[in-house]
């Protein structure tokens, strides 16, 4: 391990369970290390609220290996185990520390560590340490306390939003031999609660239960838990082991960072999850349209928790809409605990001044993204309570917002002016195609709900929304056969991104913020993002046209961009280019391409990567109660196999360039449509395999 990689590795090897996520720092105190444990969704009281850092359970000693150490880190994705091995170089090359740790896959908040290290028992730290003061990064230090009695150490940090408490214990057994050495078995349990007393009490009770099971028992059930997780969610690309590793890495961290069993019903993964401090744990549209669709297919309970996060903050969204003089609900661009907008208002610019951050004020499409996410989950997961109770207000209140936001112009058409689309290089634009297309869909979804349930609003309101949806400008240019990203985009300076270098590149840093805005260069998928999310809403044939138009101007200056492009390019049959972009998304964190992985893993990229496989290369989409599949598998892949869920069933999909197998592993029979239309359909019964073959460009059922 190179020293420069330390903090990146700490992010990459985080382990967690949705209640607590701990970075993979080694067990010795190191100047460059950033050990931390955080609970997704629990924030501090900072001016810009950040995820609360809880007591640290992973530090064993401040003693350093003599002469330094070679470090080997190994994260076992299959079993959810993190291993460290430190080999000292003096007085002779010999093991100095070996450790195995895990956060239980079946008992929330239960953290286990077993280690052998070459120090005296007196050099081993207590089971818990409190986080170092975070003031160096401008955040207030959390309130904290650490107490111990009868072999149990209890610690907690807290804010007005709640407490993250831990109770821990450990046993020390001197090792045999002439040199000092000790085997440490450490058990720590985290709990959240309204007060330190309550949370610590819960932690102590849960610790007692865990101690009764013992380390070996906990390890056994943890392994079984992970084995079960991989039975329900997996991706393998035969012929590309590196890509397979990246895909499983993404799945692993989604399963580690989210409450997979629904025990935390309201929890949305922030832009970096809880694996690092970047973005403060804030929730963006990343959660709704990048992470949530992947969760719906692989971890439906976590997808539900994501949407309940929105549902439970509808009142805050209503307040934000009212503050803007609108009706309905407007979701904030960045949110934390209570659903208020926590987008910072400015950032240092590159010349010693300050630059206003306008996304909080102008990147309004997030409200339509939330609505889309609710509809997507409803179509993908049979969840009656969600469909009846949660989805309707999300769809109706957001539609109501847009109805009050759209202006009817002198041309008689509906317009949405002064927004930022996904391409954040252009601010304050009019009629952003992505925004308007998503809003059109939102209005129709809202109207459907109103028509279904009169208690949600007047029938005339639904009619009004339908009318607005019909007249809303979408940016479609008949002369192009595609969409203009916003009014006037084509009149900007014609600067292909290749003139700056080879993407990905941060064009705004190279050209400057203002100059970038004067060019056609775009940051990430914008019109193509609409093609990705709502393909049936766009004109036939426009995908090809828009790929050709926008790809030469796309900088991929956002980590959100490559995976989505890979997805739409695969759907368009351009698999070579799709694979190039997929490779960037696949390696984004593993190779620290952005230089910011030390601050946490890019959850949207992980979600986007899995979406690219599911929606792009397999062409999966709900078609009513049936699952539609339209595979576009590159020749260089032998086969792709996904184990995922749709309609409450567990499926194994195996696709190759010329064939497709659908195995229904669990659940009642399921209808499957293969290809662009309903011509090739079949019904899978439990345990059966449906086979399809591709002949020329059409699919047919095979025996």
């Amino acid at each position: 391990m190179e020293e420069r990689q330390r903090r990146v590795l700490e992010s990459l090897t985080s382990v967690g369970d949705g209640l607590v996520v701990s970075r993979g720092a080694t067990e010795i105190v190191h100047r460059g290390s950033r050990p931390a444990s955080r609970s997704p969704g629990l924030f501090d009281d900072g001016e810009v609220p950040s995820l609360l850092e809880g007591p640290v359970w992973t530090t064993l000693t401040t003693t350093q290996p003599p002469g330094g150490a070679d470090e080997d880190w190994c994260l076992d994705l299959y079993s959810g185990l993190l291993h460290h091995r430190l080999t000292a170089s003096r007085p002779r090359k010999q093991p100095w520390l070996t450790s195995t740790r895990f956060v239980s896959s079946v008992r929330p908040g239960v953290c286990c560590l077993r280690s052998t290290l070459a120090v005296s028992p007196g050099d081993v730290e207590p089971a818990l340490a409190l986080p170092r003061p975070a003031g160096s990064h401008g955040r207030p230090t959390a309130l904290a306390r650490l107490t111990g009695s009868t072999g149990v150490v209890t610690g907690s940090t807290w804010s007005r939003h709640g407490t993250l408490a831990a109770a821990g214990t450990q046993t020390l057994v001197p090792t045999a031999g002439p040199d000092p050495g000790v085997e440490v078995t450490r058990l720590v349990v985290y709990r959240t609660g309204p007060t330190p007393e309550a949370a610590e009490h819960r932690a102590r009770l849960a610790l007692r239960e865990a101690r009764a099971i013992g380390m070996d028992g906990l390890l056994d059930e943890h392994r079984r838990g992970w084995r079960q997780r991989w039975v329900g969610a997996d991706v393998e690309v035969a012929g590309d082991p590196d890509l397979t590793l990246s895909l499983r890495f993404a799945l692993f961290h989604l399963m580690s960072g989210c409450p997979v069993d629904g025990r935390r019903p309201d929890c949305a993964l922030g832009a970096r999850g809880a694996t690092g401090p970047a973005y403060h744990g804030h929730v963006f549209w990343d959660t709704d349209v990048f992470v949530q669709p992947a969760l719906a297919a692989f971890l439906p309970a976590a997808a539900r928790a994501t949407l309940l996060y929105r549902y439970n903050r509808l009142d805050a969204a209503r307040r934000i809409a009212a503050d803007h003089g609108r009706r309905g609900a407007r979701f904030p661009w960045e949110s934390a605990a209570d659903g208020d907008d926590v987008t910072p208002r400015w950032a240092p610019d590159l010349h010693g001044g300050r630059i206003p951050i306008l996304t909080g004020e102008l990147e309004e499409h997030i409200s339509a993204d939330v609505a889309w996410a609710a509809a997507h989950y409803r179509d993908w997961v049979p969840d009656e309570d969600f469909a009846r109770r949660v989805a309707p207000p999300l769809l109706v209140e957001t539609a109501r917002y847009w109805a009050s936001r759209i202006e009817t112009g002198e041309d008689g058409a509906g317009h949405i002016s002064h927004v930022i689309g996904p391409d954040e290089y252009h601010e304050g634009v009019d009629d952003n195609a992505y925004t308007n297309l998503m809003v059109r869909r939102n209005l129709d979804l809202g109207a459907e709900e109103l028509e279904r349930d009169p208690r949600l609003g007047e029938a005339s309101e639904a009619e009004h929304w339908r009318g607005l949806a019909r007249t809303l400008v979408t940016g479609f240019r008949p002369d192009w056969g595609g969409y203009e990203q916003f009014t006037g985009w084509s009149e900007l300076q014609d600067v292909p991104v290749a003139t700056l270098g080879r993407p990905p590149l941060a064009a705004d840093l190279l050209l400057g913020h203002d100059q970038t805005g004067r060019t056609r260069i775009i940051k990430q998928a914008d019109v193509l993002m609409a093609h990705h999310l709502i393909p049936s809403e766009l004109e036939p044939g426009a995908l090809e046209v828009d790929i050709d138009r926008y790809l030469p101007y796309t900088a991929h200056g956002s980590s959100l961009s490559p995976a989505i492009h890979a997805s739409v390019l695969a759907r368009a049959g351009r698999t070579d280019t799709a694979l190039e972009l997929l490779a960037i998304a696949a390696r984004l964190d593993l190779d620290d391409i952005t230089g910011t992985t030390s601050g946490g893993l890019h959850t949207a990229t992980m979600g986007g990567l899995l979406q690219a496989m599911l929606f792009g290369f397999l062409g999966a989409a709900p078609r009513g109660p049936r699952l539609g599949l339209e595979p576009a598998i590159p020749r260089r892949w032998r086969e792709v196999t996904l184990r995922m869920r749709f309609g409450g069933r567990l499926l194994a999909l195996t696709a190759a360039p010329s064939h497709l197998r659908v195995k229904l592993c669990q659940g009642e029979q399921l209808g499957v449509e293969v290809g662009p239309g309903p011509d090739v359909t079949a019904t899978a019964a439990a345990g059966t395999i449906l086979r399809f073959e591709r002949r020329d460009s059409t699919w047919e059922r095979a025996l």
Binding site: S136, L505, L509, I593, G595, S598
Partner: protein
């Protein structure tokens, strides 16, 4: 001799003498060292200010003045030398020949006091550390930074983006905060405030100094360099010596060329 270490203040009685002595006094106080004036005596020089005594180095001696100064600097108890640099156009020699030889020949830090430098410090010093992304160069700063940390100095890292160090992605305007933090961590200066800028590196450094005021003021620039002021080299140092409004601590590294200094900023690991 007190065993505390010595700070040499190299003066010749010229216009910079007062500032050099003042800067050396501040440095010695902060470091807990003794101040040792070194008086370069030229035949027509005005001589030292009243009351200043120290080692006299005659400019007409058999040995070169710079040779004598470098010998003095190499003594084990000498931890720092302070010299004045004269006002010259950028591109010409930024210092007199004695100061130049000292700067280029020293294997210890030299505190250079530019012509219009402010030297007074109230409270803990605030230090600007410009870094170019070269981790090997930065590692040369490590002992100095530890000393600064020991005396309670506040360090602020400044990195001016140049094409090879521009991150390939920047998700939001405040993504640079995270990138900059990791940048500083990799340069061995964790926990510092980090400013990332774009433009001409020397001008951005000067701008960072002149725009800082009050609690954000900067008292000292600390920069690692390859000890080579020949034409076309060390343009940033050259500009700072000429135009910096505060003293510049030059820390020599063994790095002399790009082939021995692999630049690998965060995100360049592909």
């Amino acid at each position: 001799m007190t065993g505390r270490g010595r700070v040499l203040a190299c003066v010749d009685g010229g216009p910079s003498t007062g500032r050099v002595l003042a800067a050396a006094r501040v440095a010695a106080d902060l470091l807990g060292a003794d101040l040792d004036p070194v008086l370069v005596v030229e035949p027509d020089s005005p001589g030292p200010p009243p009351g200043v005594r120290g080692i006299e180095v005659p400019a007409t001696g058999q040995e070169s003045v710079s040779g004598v100064l470098l010998d003095l600097l190499s003594q084990p108890d000498v931890i720092l030398a302070v010299v004045g640099v004269r006002a010259t156009e950028v591109g010409a020699r930024p210092a007199g020949h004695v100061a130049l030889a000292l700067l280029e020949g020293a294997d210890k830090p030299i505190l250079a006091v530019p012509p219009r430098a402010r030297v007074e410090i109230t409270g803990s010093p605030s230090v600007l550390v410009p870094l170019d992304g070269d981790e090997t160069t930065a590692s040369g700063l490590d002992p100095v930074l530890r000393t600064l940390e020991r005396i309670g100095a506040r360090t602020r890292v400044l990195h001016v983006l140049v094409t090879p160090t521009v991150p390939p992605m920047s998700d939001s305007p405040y993504d640079l905060e995270s990138w900059g933090r990791e940048f500083a961590d990799r340069q061995g200066i964790p926990g510092s405030e980090v400013n990332v800028r774009a433009g001409d590196p020397a001008q951005e450094i000067l701008s960072a100094v002149t725009s800082a005021a009050g609690e954000d003021r900067v008292d000292l620039i600390t920069i690692a360099w390859g000890c080579d002021l020949s034409p076309g080299r060390a343009e940033v140092v050259r500009t700072l010596l000429s135009a910096s409004p505060i003293p510049v601590l030059l820390v020599p590294t063994s790095i002399t060329g790009p082939e021995s200094s692999p630049t690998r900023p965060p995100g360049a690991g592909r």
